[in-house]
Symmetry: C2
Subunit: 147 residues, 2 copies
Amino acid sequence: MEKYRKALKENKLKATPKRIAIIKFFLKNKKYASAFDVYCHLRANFKKIGFPTVYRNLDNLTKIGILTKFELDEKNLFYYGICAADKGVHHHHIICERCHKISDFELCNFESLKGEIEKETGFLINHHNLFLKGICKLCQESMGGER
Amino acid sequence: MEKYRKALKENKLKATPKRIAIIKFFLKNKKYASAFDVYCHLRANFKKIGFPTVYRNLDNLTKIGILTKFELDEKNLFYYGICAADKGVHHHHIICERCHKISDFELCNFESLKGEIEKETGFLINHHNLFLKGICKLCQESMGGER
DNA sequence: CTCCTAAATGGAAATCATTTTCATTTATAT
DNA sequence: ATATAAATGAAAATGATTTCCATTTAGGAG
């Protein structure tokens, strides 16, 4: 948690109770959640809580690299998850389609592909994003052989 | 164009003038566009045109693999682009950040990474998506050495 | 510890892309 | 030419997200 307080301070964001609660919420279950999910969680712990606060904070935390934001199913709904990787470290995310856990991994061989793709497409590549979906270890185990 | 008419028929979608116009619109400029962009284009060519028709058709065409849908800037706005690859062929997309051209490429070495990531994360990977942004050949040329 | 100020917050209303509903029109198989 | 399932448009609904603004609060300075 200290790590996050520090990150907030470095980015001139106050460590408000709600911000801390949001971070803890994600840290605790490691699952991705929608703004509405977060709102519901906070509503259970604070007398007052408004949607603007939820959205603003999710955005703030995403901007400073504590959370990651992504869109699923092309359903016009965004999800957020805790970003385990340290800020600035190149990494990608993988989500569990069953329990919605979100994990980071740094393994990425894109650089070795980059040149070839640039040759094939004629593009000069500036950014790449690899997004994975699968089944996490725990879910694999709990599912046993079935599926 | 015949190719697209055939694809429509195979998917039990009628070759309505507006559908054809949408496909032609994307084929012509090869750039990605929002539903609103498409709406504006159609409005210039048809007396009557409604948003529902635009959205429904963009979705239909995406479903049968003629278009590809994606989200940019996490701004809650979706874009569509023509998908050059044949349906079923594994491929990814790259967009030009300058002119918004969208291209396909089949080069993908993900399989060679898959095992390693599965070992590192414990996940069983079901889907992967590689999304690239860069500058296309024409824009590179038109920009000259600058930038 | 108290003050001060910029930052954060909540409620209400606004925004705005997208979707639903439903009556009318149209593409196309027969 | 016709029958019919599919497509369409207008209007209204939806629903996630954002704006506005008055009030509250975190946290550094003194």
